[in-house]
Symmetry: C2
Subunit: 199 residues, 2 copies
């Protein structure tokens, strides 16, 4: 697009780098923004500038917030003593949407991976161990993804925590709510059968 | 997400309004931005602020640019005398990507529609007629979409232009390059057959 203004092209290029958007959908999104310059584009630009300037990782748990201690770590309404360990901020958000957990979090920032040379020091595992010393923790809930790397990381952390009098738990595995057996993989069905409950 | 900072939630809500993004993909995009605050988020916010402040509709043709007269209308390299009429800036971009047209454009800003009460005055049709008086135009190319409203608008404009000694043309209809007959609709095949050429 030879005769498109430079800054418009730059904006489209930057938008196209977002996950879920490609060159075509970035153009569509930018065109939509251009047509609603006042109502959508200016507020979005302002919101983004604002967040880019204020967002930071929580020094305690690694969650992303707008202050050095995130809203969850700072809240008095959340229960102390329970720490839910997640890989990523996205997982923390997913747990929060569930709304069932009212304790504190710890965001590792990834999983251990021999292939990618990610060791405990690259994650927030030392920080987690420090928190177990500092805070009166009674339970660590490992809410890591059911992938090989996720489970390796869970085992590593569980091993590190033993002999401290802290119970280490993980999320139950089984049939998702509303899930149909016919569409489930064999591993999930076996896990759900092994963990069956009396009604 | 009760404990998510307000401005983060506001940003996700605004992103979710973009075409092609929903709440889930907006969260993913924002999380990606948050992780690359310096490299991606700040430049994107700056580019958006910049474009929101400078973007405006070209007074001549309705294209979106950064000055009162867009780059195409202002360019001395584009041919005068040919005006390509398109519905939307997206169509102008599509034509420019094709790269075959080196004349000027006129962006209507929509199509005539009895249902939506869009008459010629709501589009840039009067402005097009004024340009035909002001500029020495020899050909008007109607590159409107092959929809009912697009074709209605094309016929209306063609009728308005008659008796001015200006030739009015439209894009050829036929088999797309690389298109397979088996996957084409009947209307396109009929149109391609009617417009067949000797090799």
């Amino acid at each position: 697009m030879s005769d498109t203004p430079k800054d418009l092209e730059a904006l489209i290029d930057l938008m196209a780098r977002l996950p879920g958007l490609g060159p075509r959908s970035a153009r569509r999104a930018v065109l939509h923004l251009l047509k609603k310059r006042g109502q959508v584009m200016a507020p979005l630009a302002d919101a983004m500038t604002q967040v880019a300037a204020t967002a930071r990782d929580c020094l305690t748990c690694g969650n992303i917030g707008t202050s050095d201690i995130c809203a969850i770590c700072a809240s008095e309404k959340r229960r102390n003593g329970q720490i839910c360990v997640v890989e990523d901020v996205a997982d923390l958000w997913a747990m929060e949407r569930g709304g069932a957990f009212r304790g504190r979090y710890h965001v590792l920032g990834g999983t251990l991976s021999a292939l990618d040379a990610v060791g405990p020091e690259e994650l927030r595992i030392p920080r987690l161990m420090a928190r177990l010393e500092e805070e009166e923790v009674t339970e660590v809930i490992l809410a890591l993804n059911a992938t090989v790397d996720g489970q390796t990381t869970a085992h590593y952390i569980a091993d590190e925590i033993t002999d401290r009098g802290i119970s280490v738990t993980s999320l139950a595995q089984g049939v998702p709510i509303g899930g149909e057996l016919d569409y489930l993989d064999d591993g999930t069905i076996s896990a759900a059968l092994k963990a069956r409950k009396t009604i």
